[in-house]
């Protein structure tokens, strides 16, 4: 085992083996994330079947136009992240850093716009769990609360994942800036890239069902 490079952890024989283990591990983790989001989604769908009319009326309160741009931003950030992965594998330090920074920028943009929407929501009185935040006047305001709760739960869970993603990207950027070990960085970037893209996936589903379907 003396020939083993120090890139390889003890329990592995080859780098290829280690890499594939990491990727498999990440994908499995993402499958559990799918179930996590999916569970919440299911709760939403089931409640929707109980009050379809109230739900679709309530969804008109959401600002689809704000989030339309935001979705495009998120898709683009997925794109720049994928590019960053290519850049790092080609060992282009500057480009990698730049693309990562772009991704972070887009990610934060998304979060800020999301925040703006939350503030609007508060002003429009559709935040049921804050005192003074709820004066919705559509049909059955009591039941519409259910919709808004799900809306905040889903987007909140998503925003939480986004924040973790942004944090990870910051770490990646620092590492890319230092450029100590490009091979290792390439492997790490693949993993973070998977996570970031998963956030896109989750958002696509949320946007379509919450904002679009009821229009």
């Amino acid at each position: 085992m003396n020939a083993k490079s120090d890139q390889i952890k003890e329990q592995f024989e080859t780098l290829e083996q280690q890499k594939s283990a990491d990727r498999l591990g990440m994908w499995i983790f993402l499958a559990t994330e799918t179930m996590l989001f999916g569970g919440l989604f299911f709760a939403y769908t089931a409640s929707h079947t109980l009050h379809p009319h109230v739900f679709s009326e309530a969804s008109h309160e959401l600002e689809w136009n704000l989030e339309f741009g935001n979705t495009a931003v998120l898709l683009t950030s997925g794109f720049t992240m994928a590019l960053a992965e290519i850049a790092v594998s080609l060992k282009r330090r500057g480009l990698t850093t730049l693309l990562l920074l772009t991704t972070i920028f887009l990610g934060i943009w998304f979060l800020v716009v999301k925040g703006v929407e939350y503030v609007d929501d508060f002003q429009n009185g559709i935040v049921p769990f804050i005192a003074g935040g709820y004066f919705y006047t559509g049909p059955s305001p009591e039941i519409a609360k259910l919709f808004f709760n799900f809306y905040f739960a889903l987007t909140g869970l998503h925003a939480f994942h986004m924040s973790i993603g942004v944090l990870l990207l910051f770490i990646m950027t620092t590492l890319a800036w230092r450029w100590r070990d490009p091979d290792k960085l390439t492997r790490q970037m693949t993993i973070v890239g998977l996570y970031w893209a998963f956030i896109d996936v989750a958002w696509m589903v949320i946007y379509t069902t919450l904002y679009l379907l009821q229009q």
Partner: protein
């Protein structure tokens, strides 16, 4: 008709642009006066977008079968959850 795009930069860019277009169409259709059809189309397009993110941005395109399988399981299991419970919701008071 197998298009072989060698350059990954170009390929990703093409995918990205295509996704933006599709997405815009989807949003546009949501307001078109086509009844429930818009929901169907919205969902299909969302499905396509999700698939393309996974294929291109998440490299399933050139991953081994095991990873594709793993990616699919989550969704498959959700289908179980949805179909069996919604079956209950839609038939609950009909007996």
């Amino acid at each position: 008709m197998k298009l072989k795009i060698k350059n990954p930069w170009l390929q990703l860019t093409a995918v990205w642009l295509a996704m933006l277009c599709l997405f815009t169409i989807s949003v546009g259709l949501a307001f078109a006066p086509i009844g429930v059809w818009h929901s169907v189309i919205n969902l299909i397009i969302a499905g396509i977008l999700v698939m393309s993110i996974m294929t291109f941005f998440m490299h399933l395109k050139d991953s081994e079968g095991l990873l594709r399988l793993t990616a699919g399981t989550g969704f498959f299991w959700l289908i179980i959850l949805f179909t069996l419970s919604l079956a209950d919701y839609f038939s609950r008071y009909s007996f």
